[in-house]
């Protein structure tokens, strides 16, 4: 009896020792597996940093492996479904360039996201670490390299991608998404908001933040005395169509235009003043000098100015307006009632806006001063992928060339001197317009006959379409370091 008791006690003791050791070993393997899985995920994210196409169907990248320098175990990660099946591991997905969600391993991978799953095996224990990284659009409604000051009546918010601006109702501020303000300036007045300032997102400053409490509200966090954030730096001269070797660049001789509608590349050497508003019809205006626009800018296009830019007035909101204004000097916008600007605003120096609503993003490497401004960040406005319009030149007897575009079935005819365009013209109206323009440009003696213009227009309408030209691309987010753009939206570990 005594022996039996003692034997049982012996086995119990041995069992306790073994199970304790087994538990410790398993726990160690689990923790080691987590570290290995995280490591291989870090390796994959570094591959994505250097090449955003890494892991896409065109560039699967094989199997990434991490083995510790000391100790057992390894972790694997792959974007290749076949290799994933061969190694019996989950398959990661790179949808950074995607516009729509795609199916991933056990979940849907949203657009502009990457789903990384590291799978580690240590001592017979398997551990997965899964992360979902998203590359959101440019995160700031206003970003200033210098100080940011609002003298009052400021509203900052955001709307989701694809929102029709014509349906925007600012009476319901609470429906706006977060819009963030950034000032990199150090010191005591880095970010100053006057009375009646409503910001739905965060305030981030390199120095101190001062908010006048009268009627003001900050929906997000106030982050002060933080390290500066890298801001996009756009080199205006790199967008010079001549320097880029673009064809079909119209050189503007006049220093003043009235109500022009610009199509394709237009370049002005020297200062330029535009009256009665600027319309951009997939147009790119490059001004090597200062630019002043009275009447606002609307349509779809880009404006590059090496000097200072002054924009007086604004346009009404339209669903298809998207203008990028990139200025190497100061930018000043003076609006009025119902003045709007849709698109991105960039200044290499200081920015000042008064009584205007900006639907887009604003970046100034200098200081920013706002007076009665509404800024609604719209993701689609932080990136411009513009295919510049093209005009054919109507070859007429006598050598006069008139820019014409066949929009099937109508025509657009442009004045080669003033760049004023008339679109939606019928065949007959186009003939008359061309004849009138030839008379204005080259004199009455050079005017071709109606039949000659008719024949030239028919030939143009039947000509093959012009070869597409390289787009003009501007993406504020692209100028931020990859690691600053990526946000981890999901981090999960699991033991399959």
């Amino acid at each position: 009896m005594l022996v039996a008791v003692l034997v049982t006690l012996s086995f119990a003791l041995a069992g306790v020792g073994v199970s304790n050791l087994s538990f410790t070993t398993r726990l160690e393997s689990l923790e080691q597996g987590r570290a290995l899985s995280e490591s291989v995920v870090a390796l994959a994210s570094d591959h994505l940093r250097t090449d955003v196409t890494f892991g896409t169907p065109a560039n699967r990248g094989g199997v990434l492996e991490m083995r510790p320098r000391i100790g057992p175990g390894r972790a694997l990660l792959t974007f290749d479904p076949l290799l994933a099946a061969r190694h019996s591991i989950p398959c990661s997905t790179n949808n950074l360039a995607g516009d729509v969600a795609v199916p991933g391993w056990g979940r849907s991978v949203p657009p502009a996201s990457s789903h990384l799953i590291g799978c580690a095996t240590v001592g017979g224990v398997t551990r997965n670490v899964e992360i979902l990284m998203q590359m959101p659009a440019f995160p700031y409604a206003v970003a200033a390299g210098g100080s940011l000051r609002s003298n009052g009546d400021l509203l900052v918010g955001s709307v989701p991608a694809g929102t029709d601006p014509t349906t925007l109702d600012l009476r319901f501020e609470e429906e706006l998404g977060p819009g963030n303000l950034l000032s990199n300036a150090p010191g005591s007045s880095s970010l100053v908001l006057g009375p009646n300032s409503r910001v739905t997102g965060d305030l981030r400053a390199g120095g101190e933040v001062l908010v006048d409490p009268r009627g003001s509200r900050v929906g997000g966090q106030v982050k002060q005395n933080l390290a500066p954030v890298s801001l996009p730096r756009l080199d205006v001269r790199s967008y010079d169509p001549v320097a880029q070797g673009r064809s079909q660049v119209r050189h503007l001789a006049m220093d003043e235009l009235s109500d022009p509608a610009l199509i394709g590349f237009v370049r002005r050497q020297g200062d330029l003043r535009i009256r009665d508003g600027l319309a951009l019809d997939n147009g790119v205006l490059f001004v090597d000098g200062d630019l002043r626009i009275d009447g606002g800018a609307h349509g779809v296009g880009a404006i590059f100015v090496t000097g200072d830019t002054v924009l007086h007035g604004g346009s009404s909101l339209a669903s298809d307006n998207q203008v990028a204004l990139v200025s190497g000097g100061d930018v000043r916008i003076v609006g009025g009632p119902n003045s709007h600007f849709q698109g991105m605003l960039y200044s290499d120096r200081d920015f000042r806006a008064t009584r205007v609503m900006v639907l887009g993003s604003l970046v100034a490497r200098g200081s920013v001063v706002l007076n009665g401004v509404t800024l609604i960040q719209a993701p689609q406005a932080t990136a411009l992928d513009l295919v510049p319009g093209q005009m054919s030149e109507l070859a007429l007897p006598g050598g006069t060339r008139i820019p014409v575009r066949f929009d099937n079935p109508t025509f657009t005819v442009q004045n080669p001197l003033t760049l004023e365009s008339q679109s939606g013209l019928t065949h007959e109206q186009a003939i008359s317009r061309v004849m009138l323009l030839v008379e204005q440009v080259a004199g009455a003696a050079a005017v071709p006959t109606r039949d000659e213009v008719d024949a030239a227009l028919r030939a143009l309408a039947q000509a093959p379409p012009l070869a597409p030209i390289d787009p003009v691309q501007l993406d504020l987010s692209r100028f931020l370091p990859f690691e600053q753009r990526m946000k981890v939206t999901l981090w999960r570990q699991q033991q399959p």
Binding site: L13, G17, E31, A42, S45, L48, E483
Partner: protein, 127 residues
């Protein structure tokens, strides 16, 4: 013929068995104790290694200079645990963006050196 009591041989065998079991028990008991203590120390070392890794990960990437260094030792339950940290670059990758961290926890028990290491690669992306 009826038997009364144990024979001398039976007594000897019984005592031998009992002695054997007692010897086993006497051996197992300290061995189990040693095993449990060893496990406890490894758990302690794991906890130290993981918390050290987390501390390092919490630092800015720039603050994690490449190279080896020794962190202050930690004493737990009368044992001193030394912590060595190595930040290293990874072959073929830019160390500005991806680095390896290795934490070694070293202690001595019963006159023998004990060691536990934990390795983690960290990237600037998504931190």
């Amino acid at each position: 013929m009826s038997r009364r009591g144990l024979s001398a041989l039976e007594s000897v065998v019984a005592f031998a068995l009992l002695a054997l079991v007692i010897v086993m028990l006497c051996t197992l008991y300290p061995m189990t104790g040693i095993s449990i203590e060893s496990s406890r120390q490894r758990l302690e070392a794991q906890s130290l290694a993981d918390s050290t890794l987390e501390q390092l990960r919490g630092q800015s990437f720039a603050a994690l200079g490449l190279g080896q260094r020794e962190l202050p030792a930690v004493t737990r339950h009368g044992l001193e645990y030394r912590r060595q940290v190595e930040v290293f670059s990874l072959s073929g990758r830019d160390s500005e963006y991806l680095r390896g961290l290795e934490v070694r926890v070293i202690w001595s028990w019963r006159g023998r050196p004990q060691q536990l290491s934990r390795e983690l690669w960290i990237s600037t992306v998504g931190r």
